[in-house]
Amino acid sequence: MANLIKKAQARTSIAMLSLWGILFTLFIITGLVDHYFFTISSIGVTLQLAVPLGLLAAGQTICMLTGGIDLSIAMIATGAAFIVSIKSPSGLGWAILYATLYCILIGTINGLAVGLFGMNPLIMTLGMNAVLIGVFTVGITTFLKGSSTMPDIIIKLSSGTIVDPISWPLVLWVVFGGLIIFILSKTGLGRLIYAVGDNATAARLAGVRVWKVQLAAYIICALFSGLAGLMIGGQSGAVAMSLADSLVLPSVAAVVIGGTSIMGGIGSYTGSVMGALILTVLSYLLATLNSTEAVKQMIYGAIVLTLAWTYSKITEKS
């Protein structure tokens, strides 16, 4: 019956509609509090600020869709930024290549540990993060000695406005975000990512080598985290060890708010994009209200919990 189809579509759209509703409400409230918010340039800046979180959320979405999680994105991002800033004097191309190889290496180790050795992703990536903190802390005084300022072109691409509200970061987000959406919805790999997350046994019985899919997921996540790291470094101009720390848990929050289940198999990047936008506008709002870090943290937590509970209830009803 046409009714049944419409109902099913409506159910998934309800989630999207509510996200738009929340974003819109936050937008209005922020604008009312700070009149400058409604200006095009202000919107442009907000979008710029949302890009690193959006890119981190992209990698996190892929990992969570396979039923995993990646908490080493902080150091993957920071590490990539360090490598670029230190190696760029000897050529930007080489620097970017090294950073890319670094991301692929970490992603491979994470992916193999989870896929082949069955390690718990939470522990593996937490451990990896700790190891990387140590490596880089030691490194920047020894084999990674060098400048900690980002090369100009990266700075330009991370915060340059083309024409309000469009900026280079936004363009990059659209391009790479589009790539993620393409992978997830139009490629065989995307189907397998959902399959492995929804029912790895069914995937295996269908002949899928589950570990390869998980490996791919963690590598993609690492690459996007590296890109995000370059962006953050570019936005602040210099690289520091705590570069991406404050964005790790929000990246998970954005994905959860966007409707992806941590158990895997359901969700989308578009939801995570909404999540990233909501969290960024929320930060802006709270900052404008001069509210303390305390209030911000509590509201963050309350929102994640409420939305996760709502999604749980919606999926339970079916």
Binding site: T187, N199, R204, L205
Partner: protein, 517 residues
């Protein structure tokens, strides 16, 4: 406390056939005393699957009562409701004349109803001592029960460190330590060594001598005749016969299990001359797990080979080995004359063997759409990780949907489909990819009659196309309907290899119980 529901209104339902032949309960001389347990009109459904329709069952004090029925007849459901694991939808349970409804196994145990399941309900990572403490079992009482079984157990051992047969005896000893009025043994003699099975029998006798009762679920007809007073047979969720369990009741049991329902018309098809077609697969002396000891058989191209076996004979492991999901510990496998070893399902698929598992939960992705489920097998290789060719995919998917007549109305998530439709999707996955041999494990379990017929048709169609099918089914009549030949598994070996003319249910059921000839 009556379970909600009105039995009267239920009788008007389309499933209740008042013309059904129900035998009179054989009255025993002491039936005038109150029944220990009385179950009336019990019904339970899981979504669209009806597990129990209208079960009526009673047990006298000091009686050992056998509960029989084919796979899926409703025995486990009845036991689960009785022991508080799940709740019933309709019906009444009375214990010593008082109505009861147990909300948990603990509840049931405290009222004197103690179950012992085939999978011992002991916590694996904890010691036996602590397990006993968890259920409030007296240690000394337990130890005396264990020693009267002729066993000795180190209470400090973890449950996971103990072999299954001993673990079952421990579970039994634990249940006995609570001195239950009603002991329920759910297939615990299956896969027990003979000496322990005999111990269980004598324990049941002792229990009865103390004036207590036992509900005994088993497929071993010899045991039932030896120790049980009465037997009730369930079929399709209804009790159909209750009688004294005397020697020679085998025939009556088999007849009750089969019933005389209208048989779906056998297919008029050309089953001519399969003997000339080439061999596709050969299994030689396969050994695996606890149950498969020495399994050998062959399948020809285009042949539909049925597999019949009682529960727990290792048939699921056999299928998993052939599918590449599990590894055998001995024996050889040949495909098209060449020896093969499968380390992963993709190896089996590459050899042309596809697997439709019995549990739809292991074969389907519940939150994904029908299309994604049907198309999954297309993207299994890394070469297919790139952009999807949607027109090609749509063609294959639509083709499968059409040939299987899948109802695609609930498009968004496969978990919302009916059981029958879900089963068609699990088969459909392979139609989109192609195969030479399809391993179908109990494909029609819990499915409505109409869809069952469609699946039989499909299997015959595959055979016409030159593909082979290995079909395990718990509904024996299906074998004669859709198979060219059948093998029967019992005690780890192929007990019988019958051409379809000889595959009537009675022969199959007898062979499945080890009764040959």
């Amino acid at each position: 406390m009556r379970i909600r529901g009105n039995p009267e209104s239920f009788r008007g339902s389309p499933w209740f056939d008042s013309k059904q032949n129900k035998c009179e309960i054989n009255k025993r001389s002491n039936l005038s005393q109150q029944a220990l347990l009385k179950i009336s009109n019990l019904a339970k459904s899981y979504g669209s699957v009806v597990a129990l329709r209208d079960a009526n069952f009673s047990v006298q004090p000091g009686e050992i009562h056998a509960l029989l029925g084919a796979n899926g007849a409703g025995k486990s459901t009845l036991v689960k409701i009785l022991t508080g694991v799940i709740g019933g939808d309709l019906g009444l349970i009375e214990l010593n004349g008082k109505q009861v409804a147990f909300s948990s196994p603990d509840n049931a145990r405290k009222s004197g109803v103690a179950p012992v399941f085939q999978d011992p309900a002991l916590i694996p990572d904890i010691s036996i001592q602590r397990n006993l403490y968890l259920t409030g079992t007296d240690k000394d009482r337990f130890l005396s029960e264990i020693s009267s079984m002729g066993l000795s157990v180190d209470l400090n051992q973890l449950a996971s460190e103990i072999e299954l047969p001993i673990l079952r005896m421990i579970d039994l000893a634990r249940a006995l330590s609570h001195d239950p009025e009603l002991l329920i043994l759910d297939e615990i003699t299956a896969a027990l060594p003979i000496d322990m099975a005999e111990k269980v029998i004598s324990i049941m006798g002792d229990h009865k001598a103390r004036g207590k009762s036992v509900i005994f679920i088993s497929h071993r007809l010899a045991e039932i005749e030896e120790i049980c007073d009465r037997a009730t047979v369930l079929r399709d969720g209804i009790n159909v016969d209750t009688f004294d369990a005397t020697h020679g009741s085998e025939e009556r049991i088999v007849a009750a299990m089969l019933g005389d329902k209208n048989v779906v018309a056998a297919h008029n098809r050309n089953r001519a001359n399969k003997t000339t077609t080439a061999e596709f697969m050969r299994v030689e002396s396969l050994v695996g797990g606890k149950h498969l000891k020495d399994v050998s058989f062959t399948i020809k191209k285009g042949e539909v080979l049925g597999v019949a076996a009682l529960e727990g004979q290792g048939q699921d492991l056999l299928f998993e080995i052939l599918a590449g999901e599990s590894q055998p510990s001995g024996g050889k496998l040949f495909v098209n004359g060449q020896e093969v070893t499968f380390h992963h399902p993709s190896d089996a698929i590459a050899a042309g063997i596809s697997y439709v598992p019995g549990d739809r939960k292991t074969a389907l992705m519940p939150q994904r759409s029908i299309r994604e489920n049907l198309a999954l097998t297309r993207y299994r290789g890394m070469r297919r990780w790139g952009k999807i060719n949607f027109t090609e995919e749509a063609a294959k998917v639509d083709g499968a949907v059409e040939s299987l007549e899948i109802d695609t109305r609930a498009k968004s998530q496969v978990k919302r489909l009916s059981g029958g439709n879900q089963q068609k999707v699990t088969i459909g996955r392979w139609v989109t990819t192609g195969f030479d041999l399809l391993l179908c494990f109990d494909p029609t379990r819990g499915i409505d009659v109409g869809t069952k017929a469609q699946i039989y048709d499909l299997i015959r169609k595959f055979s016409d196309e030159g593909k082979s099918v290995l079909l395990f089914t718990s509904e024996l009549r299906e074998i004669q309907l859709s198979c060219d030949r059948a093998i029967v598994l019992y005690e780890g070996k192929v007990q019988a290899d019958l051409p379809f003319e000889k595959c009537d249910e009675a022969s199959l059921l007898s062979a499945a119980h080890g009764i040959v000839g």
